[in-house]
């Protein structure tokens, strides 16, 4: 059988411990139903998990479940924990101002100790956003199955891994069994052709993709990002793309590994070495989608037509290119009108306002979407020699302690602080505002994060998603600008 397969199908099949068709309970269930329900019967396979990332917010109830049932963590050596979601990004040596957050961090520390799970704790230089530390350590590798109690786990797909977010009950299941029972996903090809223009980033590409497929377009699917424009992206840019797969509704997103992937991985702490590297390389090269393999859905975008994007609404598909305007509800079909009107009311925007006339109060540069070194370099390039507008408060939050260290070695911290940006410690920060980094009601923020949902960065806060360069340019101007016009 030499059936052509997609990379997602290959990885899936290599990790099936048990096919549900063999399951006694399942057979009993089907018999009970007289086998009447074939159409809706999902192929739920028991899937082995190669890496389980854990953080403080979605794991306490899972560890408690293990404790109550007298269970252990089956493979602590395939599990990695950190604290990221609610850690403060300043004054860490002082008492945490939020006792509930402090407690949750403490519980993570206790659980890691009790169950023998490695933890990058708050003062560990390797601490950071859970989706930044895996790739940084070389723990994220092609062909792996990776899960985490966090929807942005799809980030790791950039390496050609099958990586997806799960809930707390599933976290407990993986801790106890190192497996998950999951329905087989459908496959979707998103091809970005041609070459991206100057000043157009991975963030703009993924916002363009979500704008096209919609926030529900990927439901039930694993997206494979393909095409010339994707191939030319660096690993960090691919991570930005895969990161937001969930914002298009997809279960996961991935990019087939290539020389760019291998170059990035070589020499990282947990990457294979010597002969093992050669053997791993041979395996990784077997992963890309076979010629002739088919997808359940295919979408094509012209990379050359993509411009810097800005979201205007309250979901990541509600976006427009920077030279555009806030949409007019009158221009859309009646059934869509109410949704747009609701979004504009929440965002306090008037129809037909040019994007570049929207004034902002806050800027957040960071997150698992755009908190890596290349993102900080892009923002620093724009910030250098300029100053944040007097009406704006701006912060830069590196994705990890190691990103912070690297940035400081390159002098980026000096550029940012001279330009009036706050330079912080690593964490999720104002992406979801679980720590003191939060918008006050009515504030408008240019953010490099991934979600512009109502209240995401604080109740009543208004979020516009943009690339790091666009965010830095907006910080300086006090309103959105086309970053291509300020680039030299």
């Amino acid at each position: 059988m030499s059936e052509a397969k997609t990379i997602a199908e290959k990885i899936w099949e290599q990790h099936v411990v048990d096919s549900s068709g063999q399951d006694e309970d399942r057979r009993a269930a089907l018999a009970e139903d007289g086998g009447s329900d074939d159409e809706s019967t999902e192929q739920a396979d028991l899937l082995y998990i190669d890496l389980h990332l854990v953080h403080e917010v979605t794991s306490p109830q899972a560890f408690e479940g293990l404790r109550l049932a007298g269970r252990k963590v089956r493979r602590p050596d395939l599990t990695l924990a950190t604290v990221d979601h609610n850690v403060p990004t300043s004054d860490r040596d002082k008492q945490n101002p939020d006792p509930l957050s402090a407690k949750q961090i403490e519980v993570m520390q206790q659980n890691a100790k009790e169950f023998g799970v490695p933890l990058f704790d708050i003062f560990d230089i390797r601490q950071g956003v859970v989706h930044i530390i895996g790739p940084e350590q070389g723990s994220t590798q092609p062909g792996m199955t990776i899960v985490c109690g966090d929807s942005h786990t799809s980030t790791h797909g950039a390496f050609g891994a099958l990586a997806f977010g799960i809930g707390t009950s599933e976290v407990e299941h993986v801790l106890a069994t190192q497996t998950l029972r999951q329905a087989r996903p459908k496959t979707m090809s998103v091809e970005v052709t041609g070459e991206l223009g100057l000043g157009v980033t991975a963030k703009d590409v993924i916002l363009a993709i979500i704008n096209k497929i919609g926030v529900n377009g990927g439901i039930g699917h694993v997206i494979e990002y393909r095409g010339e424009a994707i191939r030319k992206l660096s690993m960090e840019e691919r991570m930005t793309i895969c990161n937001m797969s969930i914002e298009g509704g997809a279960r996961a997103g991935l990019v087939a590994p290539d020389e760019t992937t291998f170059d990035y991985m070589k020499g990282r702490p947990h990457a294979p070495k010597g002969e093992e590297w050669d053997a791993a390389l041979e395996y990784w090269k077997s992963l890309p989608t076979d010629e002739g393999a088919t997808f359940d859905q295919e979408v094509v975008l012209d990379g050359a037509a993509i411009q810097p994007f800005v979201t205007w609404g309250t979901n990541p598909a509600q976006s427009v290119m920077v030279d555009g305007k806030v949409p007019d509800p009158e221009d859309v079909p009646l059934e869509q009108r109410e949704g747009i009107e609701r979004a504009l009311t929440y965002m306090d925007l008037t129809a037909n306002t040019p994007i570049i006339e929207i004034e902002i109060d806050r800027v957040f540069i960071g997150s698992c979407t755009n908190g890596r070194i290349e993102d900080l370099r892009a923002a620093a390039t724009v910030a250098k020699g300029n100053h944040v507008a007097s009406t704006v408060s701006a912060m830069v939050v590196p994705g990890s302690g190691l990103v912070k260290k690297q940035a400081e070695e390159e002098g980026l911290d000096v550029i940012f602080t001279k330009a009036g940006f706050d330079w912080r410690d690593a964490g999720c920060s104002m992406c979801l505002a679980m720590n003191p980094d939060i918008l006050i009601p009515g504030e408008r923020c240019a953010s490099t994060s991934n979600r512009n949902f109502e209240g995401r960065q604080g109740p009543g806060g208004r979020t516009h998603l943009v690339s790091p360069a666009m965010a830095a340019a907006a910080a300086i101007a006090g309103h959105f600008v086309d970053v291509r016009e300020v680039m030299v």
């Binding site: 089907l30 329900d37 019967t41 723990s139 106890a176 926030v215 439901i219 791993a280 609701r342 109740p459």
Partner: protein, 199 residues
């Protein structure tokens, strides 16, 4: 897992698409380490609006929520399921559900029933017109019907999931029965795969 059979009760019509889990339970309430107590914070910000449907006393005690396309999108927080359960909701009947939310709901024994848009239109209109009218979600016969029996639709559910819900089976216990298979898989698993502990 909670055993589930039939859910009968009033239905709250939440007539919005793409309801994300940040709306169902805002992030600031995820700092607790318990599984319960999230009900008071469900839809916290929308509930500030007195006219929001969840505030309507006519729907007090409802066990069913009617939803639109892509309900539960965004964050993987299972707290969203716990918050809905805290509100007293035992079944969601909608056009479509986000993948992770659907999995989480299943884990909590919260039914996510998908019906075609026209059927949801009908149920929404009926619930708005007659808030106290009851709807029945019957897992055994895989039907959603109005309590007066005047309207009925079949829904699909994976047979295996249905079986687990009907028997209230614990997922982890079931998987642990495959312990030998998991060990066998680990035995033939490539040694090249990384570990997280220091070598």
């Amino acid at each position: 897992m909670k055993q589930v059979s039939t859910v009968r009760g009033k239905a709250i019509p939440l007539d919005r698409v793409n309801v994300d889990t940040d709306q169902i339970i805002p992030a600031k309430h995820l700092k607790r380490i318990e599984r319960t107590g999230y009900g008071p914070f469900a839809f916290e910000s929308w509930r500030q609006d007195a006219d929001f449907v969840v505030n309507n006393p006519a729907y007090a005690g409802a066990k069913i929520m009617l939803t639109r396309d892509n309900f539960g999108s965004g964050s993987s927080r299972e707290h969203a399921v716990w918050a809905l359960e805290g509100l007293g909701i035992e079944a969601l009947v909608g056009v479509s559900f986000a993948d992770i939310f659907r999995n989480n709901s299943f884990q909590g024994g919260l039914l996510t029933i998908e019906l075609p848009e026209a059927d949801i239109d009908y149920l929404m209109a009926r619930a708005e017109e007659l808030p106290t009218s009851e709807v029945v979600v019957d897992l055994e016969s895989q039907t959603v019907r109005t309590a007066d029996g005047s309207w009925e639709r079949h829904f699909d559910i994976d047979a295996y999931k249905k079986y687990r819900l009907e028997h209230g089976l614990d997922d982890i216990s079931m998987t642990l029965e495959y312990g030998d298979d998991i060990s066998a898989f680990e035995g033939q698993r490539s040694e090249l795969k990384p570990i997280t502990t220091d070598e």
